[in-house]
Symmetry: C2
């Protein structure tokens, strides 16, 4: 059961925001869905966008300018929130990089976070089932992409669910949560101190452990991103891909930073990349 | 003297936000400037975007998706704020449609608003002089456009300054401030009760009194805009243009509302319209 929050015509399609009672997140969650005009007559391929720290479902919807290209290519785009909201867990609003707005797309095992901070199951199970039941999307043609924390999330989610997510790309992703201050804080808080348990949610580790038989991974990274060396460390992803024999198209975009101005500049190329990959999916 | 607030590479150009001590607005004002890549080697045509009620300089910059097309066409885009900020005039923050965020692009004559609420002089004199001195723009190729309150502002500003603003368009503009509840409240507050004085800031009245020898006016209006009949009333602009013999391309866009999703959908056509017009300017 979903409730419409807003619906606006956009490039001939409809940009909607919806809410629903989420079992995994233990609260009312919002998500965005862009349906291209082609969805009026057939099921369309669908992309999931995972956002970065501090974001809600709104940032990508209003800032990325993705609807123009999605309308042309006939792609739906689903945009979840980045964490549960309003669980009233002590400390959830104290810092920008843990708790609210910082779910990191993991299933927390540590109380009190294990109640509701189950964003991995939310974006891989609950939300896709809901979207498939409520919108005309083709469940055989699903891709995923994201930014920063959400770029890392897109990589981990795809690597663990290659049968469902057939195509993956990222903007300025954290390459290895275990080797990033943001990620270490999040994984320690949600999963506890045993670092071995963190590998299940670490993009570089998963590349090495599970490989990837889908189309090459596409990653764009701005050269002027202030988090490049401290948090994102694209060389860790590159090294993992090399060791695992996974094809990676890592592009260092000169002069771009970590903002949605960077995302907006290259989102068209990412959407065309996914559309091509999903066209070939069987 | 301007201070950079932020600068991000975007579509090969630079989206900046700057601040300066404004004489007209009697406060520190922010404005956005997008410089396309072409501005590295020559002075480029420049468009001014005037925003609607409640907006700052940020809304258009992050939501309209204009930079992609501006970069292709070699257009700079300047985006002022919609009012002075922080003047601490009693009542300036009480309602969304008067005071802060609602300057209406007029020079107030009524105290206490006459101090600072001088957005007409700000956008027609102070800001253009500043932009010309600080950025590589061609002062012979200047256009203006805007949304809602800012669409009305763009029309009035161009009609009164046809030698400077050579090309004008609007999204869902108020057609006649004197015949709109938003406009009546603003003009009464800023200019006082004498309605005769309002005509100097009324788009439909100015069309009839001054005419327009520039290229046809381009206006897009969404058919599902909730303010269409109550505030915007495009037929008043159409009737004024007919009476004055002014060419108006008024397009009713089926199903679109008042949001930036509407603006994003048609901004490309507006930028191409202005680029064509300014190419022909002498």
């Amino acid at each position: 059961m979903i409730s419409p929050v807003s619906r606006s015509k956009c490039f001939g399609g409809v940009q909607g925001v919806y809410s629903h009672e989420s079992r995994e997140a233990a609260c009312v969650m919002r998500f965005g869905v862009f349906l291209p005009p082609q969805a009026q007559s057939r099921a369309v391929p669908v992309l999931y966008w995972l956002s970065g720290l501090t974001c809600t479902e709104e940032n990508f919807i209003v800032k990325a300018g993705a609807q123009r290209v999605a309308a042309e290519l006939g792609l739906a785009i689903v945009v979840p929130d980045t964490s549960p909201r309003g669980l009233k867990i002590p400390g959830e609003d104290e810092t920008y990089d843990f708790g609210t707005g910082a779910g990191f797309y993991v299933d927390a095992t540590q109380p009190p976070w294990s109640r509701g901070y189950r964003m991995y199951s939310y974006v891989t199970e609950e939300l896709p089932r809901l979207v498939e039941s409520e919108f005309p999307v083709d469940r055989r043609r699903v891709g995923i992409l994201g930014h920063s924390m959400g770029g890392h999330g897109a990589l981990t989610v795809a690597l663990k669910n290659p049968g469902y997510f057939r195509s993956v790309s990222a903007f300025a992703p954290i390459s290895s949560a275990m080797h990033s201050p943001w990620g270490e804080k999040a994984l320690a808080g949600y999963l506890g101190p045993d670092r071995a348990s963190w590998r299940e949610y670490d993009a570089a580790a998963l590349v090495e452990e599970r490989g990837w038989r889908g189309p090459p991974l596409l990653v764009d990274q701005g050269s002027d991103d202030p988090f490049l060396e401290s948090q994102l460390r694209p060389q860790l992803l590159q090294e993992a891909c090399t060791r695992a024999g996974v094809a990676l198209d890592l592009r260092l975009q000169q002069g771009y930073d970590h903002s949605y101005f960077f995302i907006a500049t290259f989102i068209e190329e990412h959407l065309r990349f996914h559309a091509r990959n999903l066209e070939r999916a069987d």
